[in-house]
Structures are given as C-alpha cells and as structure tokens.
C-alpha cells in the first residue's frame, strides 16, 4: 500500500488523494448495494448495532440538550418579555440544527468508531483478504451493509433526539418555570412548518448519516494493518466526520433555507 515514495509526501496532495479515494469508495459501495441486499440480514444486524444500541445515549443527550435549551432560552427570552416563544425557539433550533448535528456527532463517537475499529481489525487480521479469496465481495458483505445502516439509523435517531429534546424543554419550561402549557404548544404549532423545518432536518440527518458511515467504513477499510494503524484510523473517523458534518451543515443550511 504505502510503497517507497520518490518525493516527500505533500500535505495537500495527500489530502486530495484521501478525498478522491473516499469518493471512489462511495461509488464502489453504491454499486455494491444491490448485491448487498442478498445479505439483508447483515444490514439488519448493523441497524441494530449502530442504531438501536445508540438509543440510550441519544435519548439521554436529547433530554439534557432540551432541558439546557429550555433554561437558557427562558433566561434570554425573559429579558425581552418573550418567554411565550420558548416552545417555538426550542423546537426550531432542535429540528433545524441541533437534532441532526448533535446526533451525527454522537453517532460518529458511538457507532462510527466501532465500525472503523471492527473493519480495521478485519483488515489487520487478514479477514478481508480471506473473504476475497473465498470469492465473497467484502464491499458488498462488510462495507455496504454498514453504510446502509448508517443512512437508515441516523434520521431515526435524530427524530428520537428531537422528540426527547422537546420533552426536556417542556419539562423545564412548563413544569419547573411555570410557563403556560397551552402557550408553549400553540406558539410552537403556529410557527413550525412540517416541510421547511421537520423534513429539512430529516434530510440533513440522512446526509450526515451517509457521511459519517462512509468515513467510518473508509477509514476502517484503508487502515494500516497494525494496531497503531487501527488506533489512528479510529481517531481520524471522529475528527474527519465531525469536521465534515459541521461543514456540510453550513452548506445544507444555506441551500435548504
């Protein structure tokens, strides 16, 4: 893989090569998706592992994010005498930004790392080479199901995160700080739009799921076959997916506005 290079590697060239290889890998995965449907059980197992097993952390974090938003925004809005808008502000910021982004960051930490470590160890212990020798396509059997599982699981997790966040904000705003229950809900329902706010947030989380899963699978698949290589690959998964998710969030927000 890393043969002797004629020149010292340039940072920019390396980065470009990584991005290019990642893009080509995405094409390979997409081409392998129809074949991977024969291993649909593997995809289901990955949805269970990356999605359902992440529910606890997603729900806990969603609840606390909602509660913190409730407290902070209540304080800020009370300066302007606008605490009635608490439900609106919390739900809009959750649906449009915090839900998809925070879920994607948690997803990268909880599921992305374990995908990278698992595939990296498969690479390091020559299991992937063994699959190739047995004429089992590792892209269709290993990479594609994990990618699909990320795309399926992320929007569902983001929706659960949002729902728990609204619950947390309601708990703080209505139950503790004494905001009127009817005002909280009616202001929210009158200004939140299902297509512009809820569905655009879901599109964002689909894109983030694809990006995080692609980076995790790619880092694992191309890791240096040593224990140090797996460690670096796992770190890179978290660093790269965090950066790409936040950058992509800006681009998507600008387009979906």
């Amino acid at each position: 893989m890393s043969a002797v290079r004629p020149k010292p590697p340039s940072m920019i060239g390396d980065a470009l090569a990584q991005v290019g290889a990642c893009g080509l890998f995405l094409l390979q995965i997409l081409a392998a998706v129809p074949r991977s449907l024969r291993h649909i059980r593997e995809t289901v197992r990955q949805v269970w592992f990356t999605g359902a097993m992440s529910l606890v952390i997603i729900m806990t974090c969603g609840l606390f994010v909602g509660m913190v938003l409730g407290l902070q925004l209540y304080y800020v809005l009370s300066i302007f005498g606008g605490t009635a808008a608490l439900g609106t502000v919390v739900s809009l910021s959750m649906y449009r930004e915090l839900g998809p982004v925070v879920t994607a960051l948690l997803f990268a930490g909880r599921a992305g790392t374990s995908i990278t470590a698992e595939i990296g160890l498969m690479r390091a212990t020559d299991q992937i080479a063994a699959m190739e020798m047995m004429a089992v396509d590792p892209i269709a059997y290993v990479a594609a199901p994990r990618f699909l599982a990320g795309v399926i699981a992320m929007p569902l997790l983001a929706c659960v995160f949002n729902a728990l966040g609204i619950f947390g904000a309601h708990l703080v705003g209505v139950s503790w700080l004494g905001l009127d229950n009817g005002t909280f809900w009616s202001n929210m329902t009158s200004s939140v739009d299902v297509w512009k706010d809820v569905v655009n947030g879901v599109w964002k989380s689909v894109a983030f799921g694809a990006v995080v899963a692609l980076i995790a699978v790619f880092q694992g698949y191309t890791t240096a076959p040593t224990s140090e290589g797996v460690a670096y690959a796992t770190t890179r998964t978290v660093v790269f997916s965090s950066i790409v998710v936040l950058a992509l969030d800006f681009v998507m927000t600008a387009f979906l506005m």
Partner: protein, 176 residues
C-alpha cells in the same frame, strides 16, 4: 437462531420507534396540528397590498381561527393581489357583505386575515369574493408620512418642502 430473531425484533422496534418519533414531531408540534381536517370552501378577496401575508396564515373572525390563506397571486389584469381563503365548512354562515382586512398580531407579529361580519341576510357561497377589503397597514408608509408631514401641531397646514430642506444637510453632516 433465537438470538438472531431477538435482534431482528429489536431492530424492527427501533425503526418503529424512530418513525413514531417522526410522526409525533410532524403532526403534534407543527402547523399540521391546527390544520382543519374537515371539508372547506373557498372565498376570494382582493387587496391592493398584502404586505407580509404568508400562505397558510390564519383567517379569523372575532379572533377565532376559521380557515387559512390558500394562495396569494397577482391578478394580471387589475394588478392587485388576489387572495384565496380556505374556510372551514363549519363556519359556512358568513354574511355576504362581510369585510376582510389584513391585520398584524401584535406590533411586529405575523399577519392574518381578519373578517368583520356584516349584516346581510344572504350568506357567502363557495367561490364568492369579498367586496369590502382593507389592505395591510404598512409600517414603512406610516413612518414615511409622519416624517414628511412632521407633527401636525407644529406645522398645521404647510408641508413646505423648503422647511424640510435645511434639516436634511445637517442630517447628512451627522452621518459624516
């Protein structure tokens, strides 16, 4: 085999939970929650200026929501705004001399169409048009008028352009 079945069931439950959360968010916390489900009929109203009126803005009688704005279009012939209102069938008994006006909820809130019921014995039918309408109040116009006319107590009947002129260079000087 039983272990495989258990995680398959778990995955199914997870997907179900995710979609339930999505359905909850979409139907209970958005404008769909106060979207009337029942049959409705349409009324039309012409305004010379709709201001910031948006699609799906509420239509209210006495402050109670009876429908929503279905479409806002420019009439190419008369060059005024033709607003189509979708009114809940439950409120079919609107006198046909009722008037429609665009109001703002609060000082800077969203705009809505307020209907002032008239006294005619005839009721609106599907597709009818409001005869009496009042356009949205433009805050900018009001401010502009106020600035041009000045306070009526100081300069009762003479909106002299010369009187206003000495003020403007000094305003410019302040900016520099």
């Amino acid at each position: 085999m039983t272990q495989r079945r258990s995680y398959q069931i778990g995955t199914g439950l997870f997907i179900l939970l995710g979609f339930a959360a999505l359905a909850y968010l979409a139907t209970q916390t958005t404008s769909i929650a106060n979207f009337q489900q029942g049959p409705s009929y349409t009324l039309k109203a012409r305004f010379s200026n709709v201001g910031q009126l948006k699609l799906r803005a509420p239509v209210k009688v006495a402050g109670v929501r009876i429908g929503s704005v279905e479409s806002i279009a420019l009439d190419p012939g008369k060059l005024d705004a033709l607003v189509t209102l979708s009114i809940d069938k439950r409120y079919a008994e609107l006198p046909d001399d009722s008037s429609a006006a665009i109001f703002t909820s609060g000082l800077l809130g969203d705009q809505y169409v307020g209907v002032q019921p008239g006294g005619s014995p005839e009721m609106f039918k599907d597709g009818d048009e409001f005869v009496l309408t009042q356009s949205s109040m433009q805050l900018e116009d009001l401010i502009g008028k106020f600035l041009v006319n000045g306070s009526p107590a100081q300069k009762p009947a003479q909106p002299e352009p010369d009187a206003a002129k000495p003020a403007s260079p000094s305003a410019h000087d302040n900016h520099h």
